[in-house]
Amino acid sequence: MNNIYLRDIFRGIVTDNPTFRLVLGMCPVLAITTFMINGLGMGVATAAVLICSNVVISSLRRFIPEQVRIPCFIVIIASFVTIIEMLLKAFQPNLYEALGVFIPLIVVNCIILGRAEAFASKQPVLRSLFDGIGIGLGFTIALLIISTLREVIGSGTILAETAAVTQLFGPNFEPMRLFALPPGAFILLGLLLGGMNFIFKRLNVK
């Protein structure tokens, strides 16, 4: 049984959740989460880059000398980000427009460089792959939770900007616009983090 790989995934989603536990990669979490579909898109894009770069860096870990490892990692990560950007522009133009400048900013998402440095450069390829999947999933789930909350409370819809958009509370409902705007993002994330801390303390998970 591939126990260790499943545990890697669980770790990425729960114990080492990049957003709620490690508090890394905050910028897109706050900026992109106005609508569910954007949160999902950003999560998938970041996960894709993370998985690809983890695998490549792990495969090359014996060939890259220590002194130049950071520039090498950067080039590898930046290349995958550029590829993702081009693919999005060609096949998902709406998402490309919505994510905007935050697509290139995936490069400096501390999660990716952090994982490369802490994990992929030291672990074999298969483990790095699953670590990438786990962390990527954790990030995407976190983004989904936050963007769903922000969209439901802040705009009163779910799945806006897609074909399945639904007005949850009827056309005359005035949502709490604050949560669709920057201040709401900060406050919501702060409250969520506080909540997570409380839950984890209670469950006594390290």
Partner: protein
């Protein structure tokens, strides 16, 4: 030395492989992107004019005008891509006008208005007020179109922009003639006129001597002071320098500027029709 060589070589190899990979993906996706953008563009135009067969694009002052022709080569309409300063930034929109000068469609392409407040300019409710209007309609706030309370800046900006764009299309591309006022035929005197600014009417007093406008004074307006200062005294100066109403009204306060021009036009029209002279009347 060997060490540095190895470092440099590794870096170089990584760089070259990445570069090659990026170039490959770029060459694959670039034509797809270009084709799709062209296709989306034509689709958007076709939504306004299903009979579209050919398009000729003209650009003027940073705005784009797509002249739509049907299969027989007749001009069936114009789609303008124009921009207007809103509350949070530039609003880019399409205005579709048929060959009779009637607005048949409108779409906001991008904006930076506040979600839930200023973005009412993207709703069919707001845009629906313009559909069916021709350039002979006043398209004036309070007369035949309305702003939305709580989003006054965004909506009044859009109304002014629609009016301005419609006029440009009508006069520049649909060969409607703007009524030319012969200033030299205006009898000497001081005349009052009103025109619509950004929020309300602007009243001016125009003095004509010997067929030449010698003074333009704004006697009443309720524009935003910082914006109004951008068009006054600039616009009267331009009118007097060129002795024409066909001046460039693009300032930091285009609606105020056009309001002033409209007011001067109104005053001169009244003068030509034998209107009242208002020499030296005190304003309210």
């Amino acid at each position: 030395m060997r060490n540095i060589l190895r470092l440099a070589l590794t870096l170089a190899v990584v760089g070259i492989v990445s570069g090659a990979l990026l170039t490959a993906v770029h060459n694959w996706t670039a034509p797809i992107i270009a084709a799709r953008e062209a296709e989306d563009y034509m689709k958007a135009l076709r939504e306004f004019f299903p009979a579209l067969s050919d398009v000729k694009t003209e650009e003027a002052e940073g705005e784009k005008y797509d002249l739509i022709y049907d299969a027989s080569g007749n001009l069936i309409g114009v789609v303008a891509t124009a921009q207007q300063q809103g509350y949070g930034g530039l609003i880019t929109f399409n205005l579709a006008v048929d060959s009779a000068g009637k607005i048949i469609g409108m779409r906001v392409i991008s904006h930076a208005e506040t979600p839930g407040i200023g973005d009412v300019v993207t709703t069919p409710d707001f845009q629906g007020q313009f559909i069916g209007k021709t350039f002979e309609d006043p398209i004036e706030i309070g007369t035949d179109v309305h702003t939305v309370s709580g989003a006054t800046v965004s909506t009044s900006a859009m109304i002014g922009a629609v009016r301005r764009t419609l006029e440009t299309i009508a006069y520049s591309y649909l060969s409607f003639e703007e009524e030319v006022i012969d200033i030299t035929a205006v009898p000497d005197g001081t005349y009052r006129g009103t025109g619509r600014g950004a929020f309300d009417n602007i009243t001016v007093e125009v003095t004509v001597e010997g067929g030449i406008i010698t003074e333009i004074k704004v006697v009443a307006q309720s524009e935003t002071p910082t914006y109004f200062a951008e068009s006054y005294p600039l616009i009267p100066e331009r009118i007097m320098a060129e002795q024409s109403l066909d001046i460039d009204t693009k300032t930091g306060a285009t609606m105020s500027a056009e309001g002033i021009v409209a007011a001067v036009r109104d005053a001169l029209q009244k003068a030509l029709e034998g209107g009242d002279e208002t020499g030296g009347e005190t304003d309210e």
